[in-house]
C-alpha cells in the first residue's frame, strides 16, 4: 500500500470518475468477491433462502390450484381476458431488460462502470425472464396443450399461426432467454476458473473445474473469450430492443383502443430499461451493503444507474402524454374514451399510481444529492417497480374493461390466487438470486480487473520514461493475483 497516495490520480478510469471506491489490488478484488462463495454459509442467508423458498412453494401451490380447477380461479371475466398473468409477464420481462443492456450495449459503448454491476444485473435478467416465462405457460386455458404454440413438426401438419403476436412472443422471449443465459455463462468462465483455483475441497474443484471448461488464462483463451464475448454482445444488443418491442406487439397489433398504438415498441423498451435499472438498484443497494462491496459497486455506479432511470422515466412519461395527445388528435372517439377512462374512470387510482411512480418520482434525480442518496434511490427504485407494474396493469386491464360496446363493460378484480401467484413469483426470483449470490461470483472479477489502473500497461511507468519504477513493490503487488 506504499504507493497508495502516490498513485491516487492513476486510480481513475478513462472518464475521470473513480471506478473503485478505494485503491484495491487485484488480489483484494478477487478476495472481496470470491470469498463470499467460499466462506461458511451465513445464518442470515439461510433465513432469507427459507423465506424465498416459502414464496416459491406458494407459487407452486397456486399453479397446482389453477391447473386443478381452471382459469376461473383468477379474476378474469368476459371483457377482461388478460389480467395479472399477462401483467406479471410483461413486468418480469421488463425487469429482465437491464442485465443484457448493461452487459451488451454498455459493453459495446465501452462504458467501463458497467463491470461492477453487469454480473448481478445479468443474473437478475435471467431469473426475471424465468419468472416471466412461467406466466404465458400457465395463463392458457388448457395448459396441457400449451406446447402447440411451439413449431414442433407433427402428424397433423399443423403449424402455429405465424400472424399471432403471441407466437412472436414465444420466439422473442425464448431467444432472449437463451442468448442472455449463454452470454452470462461465457462471461463467468474466467471467474469460475479463478474460484476453481482457490477451491479447497475436491468437490468444489471438480464442479468449478467442469464449469470453467478448462480455462487456464492462456493468451489463446483470452483471445477466443474476448472475441466470443464481443460477438455475443453484438448478438444480444438487438435482442434487448426486440424482445420488448415484440412483447408490445401483443397489444399494439390488436384493435382494442388503448392497445392499438404505434408508439408501443419504443415506449415499452424505454419502460423496460426503466424498470430493469430500478430493480438492479433495489437489489444492489442491499447486496453491496450486506456483502461489503461498496468499494466495487460504488455510489458513482449507482448514480449512473439513477441517471438512466431519470432518462428512461422521462421518456416513459413523455410517451404517456403523447398517447393522450394522439388520442385527442386522432379524433377517434373510442381512443379518446379509452384514455379519458384511464385517467378518470374506475381505474383512475391505478393510472395515477402509475403516473406518480413513473413520471413524478424519478424527476427528483435531477438533484445530485438525491441521486447519490442511498435511502432515496432505494425508495425511488421501489416506487418505479410499483409504477411499472401498474403501467402494465393500466394498459392491459383498463383498455379491456371498457372497449367498443358499452353493454360488455365490466370491472376486473384480482382474486387471492392472482395476488399470491404474483407474490410467489418473487419467491422464485429470490430463490434463484440467493443461490446466485451464494454460489456464483456476483461481480465480474476479471472484468473489474480490466478497468483497474493496474491493468493499464503504463501503470508501472512511474517516471513516464517507458520503464517501470519501483519494481520490487509493484511485482510484490502483482504477484498476489498471478495465481
Amino acid at each position: 500500500m506504499s504507493t497508495e497516495t502516490h498513485h491516487k490520480t492513476a486510480v481513475h478510469a478513462l472518464d475521470d470518475l473513480p471506478l473503485l471506491g478505494r485503491d484495491l489490488s487485484f488480489h483484494e478484488v478477487t478476495e472481496l468477491v470470491a470469498h463470499h462463495t467460499e466462506k461458511k454459509t451465513p445464518t442470515a442467508w439461510f433465513g432469507a433462502f427459507a423465506l424465498a423458498n416459502a414464496g416459491l412453494l406458494l407459487l407452486v401451490a397456486m399453479i397446482a390450484y389453477l391447473f386443478w380447477n381452471g382459469t376461473g380461479v383468477w379474476g378474469l371475466n368476459n371483457p377482461v381476458g388478460w389480467g395479472y398473468a399477462i401483467v406479471n409477464f410483461v413486468f418480469w420481462v421488463g425487469i429482465g431488460h437491464a442485465g443484457t443492456l448493461i452487459s451488451a450495449i454498455l459493453f459495446l459503448f465501452r462504458q467501463q462502470w458497467r463491470t461492477a454491476i453487469n454480473r448481478s444485473a445479468e443474473a437478475m435478467t435471467i431469473f426475471a425472464v424465468m419468472c416471466a416465462l412461467i406466466f404465458p405457460g400457465i395463463h392458457v386455458g388448457r395448459v396441457w396443450a400449451a406446447y402447440w404454440m411451439l413449431p414442433i413438426p407433427n402428424q397433423m401438419e399443423m403449424w402455429p399461426q405465424f400472424k399471432s403476436p403471441l407466437l412472436w412472443d414465444v420466439f422473442a422471449v425464448s431467444t432472449y432467454f437463451t442468448v442472455s443465459a449463454v452470454f452470462w455463462y461465457v462471461g463467468m468462465i474466467p471467474d469460475l476458473a479463478t474460484m476453481r483455483d482457490r477451491a479447497t475441497t475436491t468437490l468444489r474443484r471438480k464442479v468449478l473445474g467442469f464449469l470453467s471448461m478448462g480455462w487456464t488464462g492462456a493468451n489463446r483463451h483470452w483471445r477466443n473469450y474476448e472475441k466470443a464475448y464481443l460477438l455475443l454482445a453484438a448478438l444480444a444488443t438487438p435482442l434487448v430492443l426486440s424482445v420488448h418491442s415484440v412483447v408490445s406487439f401483443d397489444f399494439a397489433v390488436s384493435i382494442i383502443p388503448g392497445w392499438h398504438t404505434t408508439i408501443f415498441p419504443p415506449y415499452f423498451v424505454a419502460g423496460a430499461i426503466f424498470s430493469g435499472f430500478a430493480m438492479v438498484v433495489t437489489l444492489l443497494v442491499i447486496a453491496r451493503k450486506i456483502y461489503k462491496l461498496e468499494d466495487i459497486i460504488t455510489i458513482g455506479h449507482l448514480e449512473k444507474m439513477n441517471i438512466i432511470i431519470l432518462l428512461t422515466g422521462t421518456m416513459v412519461g413523455f410517451a404517456y402524454i403523447t398517447e393522450f395527445f394522439i388520442a385527442w388528435y386522432s379524433g377517434v372517439k373510442y381512443e379518446q374514451y379509452a384514455f379519458l377512462n384511464r385517467a378518470f374512470g374506475p381505474y383512475a387510482w391505478a393510472y395515477w399510481t402509475m403516473m406518480f411512480c413513473n413520471l413524478v418520482f424519478p424527476q427528483f434525480f435531477w438533484f445530485k444529492k438525491l441521486r447519490r442518496s442511498i435511502p432515496f434511490m432505494f425508495a425511488v427504485s421501489i416506487t418505479t417497480n410499483i409504477g411499472m407494474w401498474f403501467e402494465r396493469f393500466v394498459i392491459t386491464v383498463t383498455s379491456l374493461h371498457r372497449d367498443y360496446l358499452p353493454s360488455s363493460w365490466d370491472y376486473y378484480t384480482p382474486t387471492w390466487v392472482d395476488v399470491l401467484t404474483f407474490v410467489g413469483s418473487f419467491g422464485l426470483f429470490f430463490t434463484l438470486f440467493l443461490l446466485f449470490l451464494r454460489f456464483a461470483p456476483m461481480v465480474a472479477i476479471a472484468e473489474v480487473k480490466y478497468v483497474m489502473p493496474q491493468a493499464d500497461p503504463h501503470y508501472y511507468d512511474d517516471h513516464g520514461d517507458g520503464h517501470a519504477g519501483d519494481q520490487a513493490a509493484k511485482l510484490a503487488r502483482s504477484s498476489h493475483h498471478a495465481s
Partner: protein
C-alpha cells in the same frame, strides 16, 4: 343323491315268469345277480361311477347347478337387446326425426315440432304448418326440453312422504270411493281433460272443479285475439302483450312486427303504452306513459270518454296525452285497437273503446274458449280452502298446480289440505304442495304423454309423446283424472283416442294418423263471438301511497319454470338481472326512500327493502329501473321456491371449486333463489317500504359500467341507429349519419401487398363446395322486441352451459347471442326509451380474432363464417380480447363436469360439448348448415333460400332475423342487405362483419313529440 327316473339306466329286468329258453339256472330263476351281470356290457366296476350317479347324471347336475348359479345374479327378467337388423322405417341412427306435438301454456296449446335424435327429444321448435303459428317459439317452449331432463323431477309415487308405487296408488283409488271430490287445475282447453273432469265431477254429488291461473283473478272463458298487423294505432292499457309471459305472445309479436314494417311506403303502426313498470312492450312503444297501476284504467276511461264511449269521468280527462291518443285512435277508426289484460280493471275500458272505434271484428276478435279456461280467482280458491277446512270434501285432487306456493298466507291452503281425508297432488316436482299432500304422483312431462288441446284461436291438436316416461311412476294428468273418474287405470293413448272418436269424421285411423302427423286438425278454430256488451264500471282511484305491482316473471313465469337453469340464467329483458327477483322502483322513488345501489368493482350491491302490504311483508333487494312510474314497486312471481331434490349435496375438498361452481350442487336449482312474493297478493291499499338491509349482491349480465354512460356511449358510437318515420321517409339512408365521422377506410384503399394472398383466394377455400354459399345475417332492430326467445333457442341448440349467479356476477355468462339493452333519455325526469339489440358473433370477414390466435384455433370456413376449432384451442383468450363485439365466451371452469347425468340427454349430438379452457361463440349454427349441405349433396342440387335456418332465427316470433346465402342475390338476406336502413356496427374498424342491422324506426305522434 337325486334320482332322475327318465335317465335311470338301471331299468328293472324283465320279470316275466314264462321263460321257455334259458341259458342257466340263474337265468331260469331270474336271479337278480345274473340279470345284472348279463345287462352290463363290461365287468362290474369297469363302467359307471362308484357312487350312485351316472356320468350323464353328473353332467346334468353340473349343468343345472351352473345355470342356477348364474341366475342368482338376475333380479330382473332377462331383457334382450336387438340390433336393427331390420331397422324401423325412417329411422337412421344419428339422423334426427321430427314429430308434431304441443305444449299447453296458460290454457292455450302452443303447436310444436320436436326433434328426436335416436329416440330422445333434443330440440323444440314451433310448428310452421299450424295455421296460427309462423314456426316460432317462446322461451318456455324452448326451455321445456330441459324440464323433461330436470334432475330434480319427482320420480316416485309418495304416500305421506314415503315411497310407494303407481300400482299401490291405483289400488288405493280403485278400492276407495273418492266421495265428494274437489279438483284443482290450471286453465286448459284440452277436450280430454274437459271430458274427464266433467265425468269426475259427475261421479259424486258435491264435487267441484276449480280452475285458477297465476293472475289469481276470476275470469270467464272468453278470449280476445288482436290482429296488430291490421292496426295502425295501438294503445296498450298496461298489458305487456309482447312479453314472453303473455298468453298470445307469439301471435302478438308476429303481427305487431308486421305492423311495424316501414319500408317501401308501407303503413307503420303507432304504439302507445300506458304502464306502471317497464316492459319490453313499453320499450317498443312510440309513446310510453308511466302511471301507477290503479291510474291506468282511469286514463283509459278518459280516452274512452273522448271517443264517445260510455265511461265514467276520471282525473285524466284533462291530460294532454288522453286527448292526443283519442284523436289518433279516432283517426284510425277500426284500424285502431286498445289492448288490456283481461283480468285488469282496464279491460272493460279497452273493450268499450274498441266498440266505439268499431275495432271488433277487424283488429280485435273475441271467442269463447273451453269451460276449463274460466278461472275462479283468489275468492274461489279461498272458498275452496274454507270448504275443505269445513270438511265438505272427501278428496282433494291437485293436478299440476301448486296452490300452497301460489296463494298468499291469508288463504291457509296447506291447513285446509290437512282437513281433507285424502289429498292427491300430481306434479313434476315434489314441491310446496306435494309435501302437504297425502299422495303425490309424479306427472309425466308433455313430451312423455298423450294429450290434446286447443291453440289460442281454438285449433284442435293431439299432442303425442316422443319418449316413454323417464320414470316408471310418472303419469299424465288425464291418466290420473281418469283413474278418479272411473276407478280404472287406463292409458293416456286410449283416453285421447276415446275423446277424439267423436271429433274425427270418416276413417278414424286415417284421420287420427293425419292429426298426429300434422299436429293439428284444420278448420277447428273458434268461431268469432259477438263483442262483449260493455259497461264500464266506475273507475276507482288507487291509494295515494306506494302501489305494489305483482307480475309473472318474464323468465320463470309463476315459478312453474323456476327449476330450469336456462331460464334462471336468462337475463330479465329490462333489468338484466339473473338468478333473483328484485323489487323494481323508479330512480326517483329509490332516491326519495333513500335506497341505494352500490356499483363496486363491477358488481351491484343493493339495499334490501321490506315491502309491507296489509299484514304481509316481503323482503326483497331493490332495483331502480329508469322510466318506471314513481311510487310503484314492481315485484315478480316465481322465486323463493322450495322443491325437494333427492340429489346429494355436492361437497368437495378445499382445493376443488366444484362445490362453488356447480349450480346443481346444492339441492334443487330453484331452491333458495329469490323470494316468494305470493304473500303480497290479494291485499289492497298502499304499501309501506322500509330499508331492511344493504350490500346484497345482484347479478346482472349488463350494466357493470355506470348506467348513464352506457346508453349515451351506445348512441354516440352508432351502435343502435334510429330515426322517426318522418325522418326515414325524407332520408331513407339516415343510418349513414351514424357512421363514424373521422375516417372510414374502404378495404380497397389498402395497398395490394396482401391481396394476391388473401385467404379467400386460396385454392383450399375456393375449391371447396361450401364456397358457393356465403352466409350472412341481417337483424331488423325495428322488428325485435327483446323477448329473449333467440337466447334460449341458441342455448338449447348449441349446448350452452349455465354458470350460476356467482359466475354471472363475475361476468362469465356463456350466452352466444345476447340482447344488449340501452336506455335512451335526456335525464332522470325525461321519458326514457329502451332499445334492444341482439348480438351474436358478427362473423367478420376480416376477423380480428383469427389473426391473433397463436394456434389457428379460430379460422374462416369456405362459406365465409368464422369458426372455432375447439380441439385446437388452448385458451389464450387473445381472440376474446381482440373481439370488438365481445361475443366470445370462455370456459373458465369445466361446467359439464358436474352436470347431472340426465341433463346430458338434452345435449344436441351435433354440437361439441365444450370442455374447460376453450373459447366458444356463435357459429351461425354451422351444424345446421352442414346438415343441409349433406342433403343437397345427395340430392345433387343447390341450397334453396330459407332451407337453412339458424336456431335464433327459427325461434324469433318477430322474424327479426334473416339468414341466408349472400351469393344468391335474390335470397331474403341479400334483399335485406339492400335495405337502406342496413348498417354494420363498428364497420369503421374494417373488420367487415357479415351480420348487419336494420335501423330502428319510431313513429311518434307529432302532437306529443314536443313533449318527448
Amino acid at each position: 343323491m337325486i334320482e332322475l327316473p327318465v335317465l335311470n339306466s338301471t331299468a328293472s329286468a324283465d320279470a316275466s315268469p314264462r321263460k321257455r329258453f334259458w341259458r342257466s339256472v340263474q337265468h331260469l330263476e331270474a336271479d337278480p345277480g345274473y340279470s345284472a351281470f348279463t345287462e352290463s356290457e363290461l365287468m362290474t366296476g369297469a363302467q359307471g361311477s362308484p357312487g350312485d350317479s351316472s356320468r350323464r347324471q353328473f353332467l346334468q347336475l353340473m349343468g343345472a347347478s351352473m345355470a342356477l348359479a348364474g341366475l342368482t345374479a338376475c333380479r330382473k327378467p332377462v331383457e334382450h337387446i336387438m340390433p336393427f337388423v331390420r331397422k324401423p322405417e325412417d329411422m337412421v341412427p344419428g339422423v334426427p326425426l321430427q314429430y308434431a306435438t304441443g305444449m299447453e301454456f296458460r290454457g292455450a296449446l302452443r303447436p310444436l315440432v320436436v326433434e328426436s335424435t335416436d329416440g330422445r327429444p333434443t330440440k323444440v321448435e314451433g310448428n310452421p304448418e299450424h295455421p296460427e303459428s309462423n314456426g316460432s317459439s317462446g322461451i318456455f317452449e324452448q326451455a321445456s326440453l330441459l324440464a323433461l331432463y330436470d334432475p330434480d323431477r319427482s320420480q316416485q309415487v309418495l304416500r305421506n312422504g314415503d315411497g310407494s308405487t303407481w300400482a299401490d296408488f291405483v289400488r288405493f283409488v280403485a278400492e276407495r270411493d273418492p266421495g265428494r271430490t274437489a279438483v284443482v287445475l290450471h286453465p286448459t282447453a284440452s277436450p280430454t281433460v274437459e271430458r274427464l273432469a266433467a265425468a269426475l265431477a259427475a261421479r259424486n254429488a258435491g264435487s267441484r272443479v276449480v280452475v285458477y291461473d297465476e293472475s289469481l283473478a276470476a275470469a270467464d272463458a272468453s278470449r280476445v285475439r288482436y290482429h296488430f298487423d291490421r292496426a295502425r294505432v295501438i294503445l296498450s292499457l298496461g298489458r305487456d302483450f309482447l312479453g314472453s309471459t303473455d298468453v298470445d305472445h307469439l301471435h302478438n309479436t308476429a303481427t305487431f312486427a308486421r305492423s311495424r314494417a316501414a319500408d317501401d311506403g308501407s303503413t307503420m303502426s303507432r304504439l302507445y303504452v300506458i304502464e306502471a313498470g317497464y316492459s319490453i312492450t313499453g320499450g317498443a312503444a312510440d309513446h310510453r306513459l308511466a302511471l301507477k297501476p290503479s291510474q291506468i284504467a282511469a286514463f283509459g276511461a278518459a280516452v274512452a270518454r273522448k271517443l264517445g264511449a260510455d265511461a265514467p269521468a276520471s282525473t285524466f280527462d284533462d291530460h294532454p296525452w288522453a286527448a292526443a291518443i283519442a284523436e289518433d285512435l279516432r283517426g284510425a277508426g277500426s284500424a285502431a285497437v286498445v289492448v288490456a289484460d283481461p283480468t285488469h280493471a282496464a279491460a272493460p275500458v279497452a273493450a268499450a273503446i274498441n266498440a266505439a272505434l268499431g275495432s271488433w271484428g277487424t283488429t280485435a276478435e273475441r271467442f269463447v274458449s273451453g269451460p276449463l279456461t274460466a278461472t275462479s280467482g283468489l275468492e274461489g280458491l279461498a272458498a275452496l280452502a274454507s270448504d275443505c277446512a269445513a270438511g265438505r270434501f272427501d278428496t282433494l285432487l291437485l293436478v299440476g298446480v301448486n296452490p300452497v306456493y301460489d296463494l298468499p298466507a291469508s288463504v291457509d291452503f296447506a291447513g285446509a289440505m290437512g282437513k281433507v281425508a285424502e289429498t292427491v297432488h300430481v306434479g313434476l316436482h315434489v314441491d310446496e304442495t306435494a309435501v302437504k299432500a297425502s299422495w303425490h304422483v309424479p306427472m309425466a312431462h308433455y313430451l312423455e304423454s298423450w294429450g290434446d288441446g286447443r291453440s289460442f284461436g281454438g285449433t284442435l291438436s293431439v299432442t303425442q309423446p316422443l319418449i316413454a316416461p323417464l320414470y316408471d311412476a310418472a303419469h299424465s294428468a288425464i291418466e290420473v283424472l281418469s283413474l278418479f273418474a272411473t276407478g280404472t287405470d287406463r292409458s293416456g293413448y286410449d283416453l285421447v283416442r276415446e275423446s277424439w272418436s267423436g271429433v274425427l269424421t270418416g276413417d278414424f285411423e286415417k284421420a287420427w294418423r293425419r292429426v298426429i302427423h300434422d299436429g293439428f286438425l284444420p278448420g277447428t278454430a273458434y268461431a268469432s263471438s259477438a263483442p262483449p256488451a260493455v259497461a264500464v264500471p266506475a273507475v276507482t282511484s288507487g291509494p295515494d301511497g306506494i302501489e305494489v305491482l305483482v307480475q309473472p316473471d318474464p323468465t320463470v313465469f309463476d315459478g312453474s319454470f323456476a327449476n330450469l337453469s336456462w331460464l334462471q340464467e336468462l337475463p330479465d329483458p329490462v333489468t338484466k338481472v339473473v338468478w333473483d327477483n328484485v323489487a323494481a322502483v323508479s330512480p326517483a322513488t329509490a332516491a326519495r326512500l333513500g335506497l341505494s345501489v352500490e356499483l363496486d368493482a363491477g358488481q351491484h350491491f343493493v339495499d334490501r327493502i321490506a315491502v309491507t302490504l296489509g299484514s304481509s311483508t316481503v323482503d326483497l333487494p331493490v332495483w331502480p329501473v329508469p322510466g318506471m312510474a314513481d311510487d310503484v314497486v314492481q315485484v315478480n312471481l316465481g322465486y323463493g321456491r322450495s322443491i325437494v331434490s333427492r340429489r346429494p349435496e355436492r361437497t368437495s375438498p378445499f382445493w376443488d371449486t366444484d362445490s362453488v361452481t356447480d349450480v346443481y350442487g346444492t339441492g334443487a336449482v330453484a331452491a333458495g333463489v329469490g323470494v316468494s312474493v305470493s304473500d303480497l297478493r290479494g291485499a289492497a291499499g298502499a304499501a309501506s317500504i322500509t330499508r331492511s338491509g344493504s350490500g346484497y349482491l345482484v347479478a346482472t349480465t349488463q350494466d357493470h359500467g355506470a348506467l348513464p354512460d352506457e346508453g349515451a356511449e351506445a348512441m354516440d358510437r352508432g351502435l343502435v341507429r334510429m330515426a322517426t318515420l318522418d325522418v326515414y321517409r325524407q332520408n331513407p339512408e339516415f343510418v349513414r349519419a351514424g357512421d363514424p365521422r373521422p375516417i372510414r377506410e374502404e378495404w380497397t384503399d389498402y395497398p395490394a401487398l396482401w391481396q394476391s394472398r388473401h385467404p379467400a383466394d386460396e385454392p383450399a377455400i375456393k375449391d371447396s363446395p361450401y364456397f358457393r354459399n356465403q352466409w350472412g345475417m341481417v337483424i331488423d332492430l325495428n322488428a325485435c322486441t327483446g323477448c329473449n326467445a333467440c337466447t334460449i333457442a341458441c342455448q338449447a341448440e348449441n349446448n350452452i352451459q349455465v354458470v350460476g349467479k356467482d359466475q354471472v356476477s363475475r361476468g362469465r355468462e356463456m350466452h352466444w347471442i345476447r340482447l344488449d339493452r340501452y336506455f335512451v333519455g335526456d335525464g332522470a325526469d325525461a321519458p326514457v326509451q329502451m332499445v334492444v339489440q341482439p348480438l351474436p358473433c358478427q362473423h367478420c370477414e376480416n376477423a380480428p380474432c383469427e389473426s391473433v390466435c397463436p394456434v389457428a384455433a379460430t379460422v374462416h370456413s369456405p362459406d365465409g363464417t368464422n369458426q372455432m376449432v375447439y380441439n385446437r384451442c388452448i385458451g389464450t383468450r387473445y381472440c376474446a380480447n381482440n373481439c370488438p363485439y365481445k361475443v366470445r365466451r370462455f370456459n373458465f371452469y369445466n361446467w359439464t363436469k358436474t352436470l347431472p347425468a340426465s341433463l346430458n340427454l338434452a345435449h344436441n349430438p351435433n354440437v361439441t360439448v365444450r370442455s374447460l379452457g376453450v373459447m366458444e361463440k356463435c357459429s351461425f349454427c354451422i351444424q345446421r348448415v352442414r346438415e343441409v349441405n349433406k342433403r343437397v349433396n345427395v340430392e345433387n342440387r343447390s341450397i334453396r333460400d330459407g332451407e337453412v335456418k339458424t336456431a335464433c332465427q327459427q325461434a324469433c316470433p318477430a322474424s327479426a332475423i334473416t339468414f341466408g346465402d349472400l351469393n344468391d342475390t335474390e335470397s331474403a338476406v341479400s334483399k335485406a342487405k339492400r335495405n337502406p336502413r342496413r348498417y354494420e356496427i363498428l364497420a369503421e374498424l374494417s373488420v367487415k362483419p357479415r351480420t348487419s342491422y336494420l335501423g330502428r324506426i319510431r313513429n311518434p305522434n307529432p302532437q306529443l313529440e314536443a313533449g318527448v
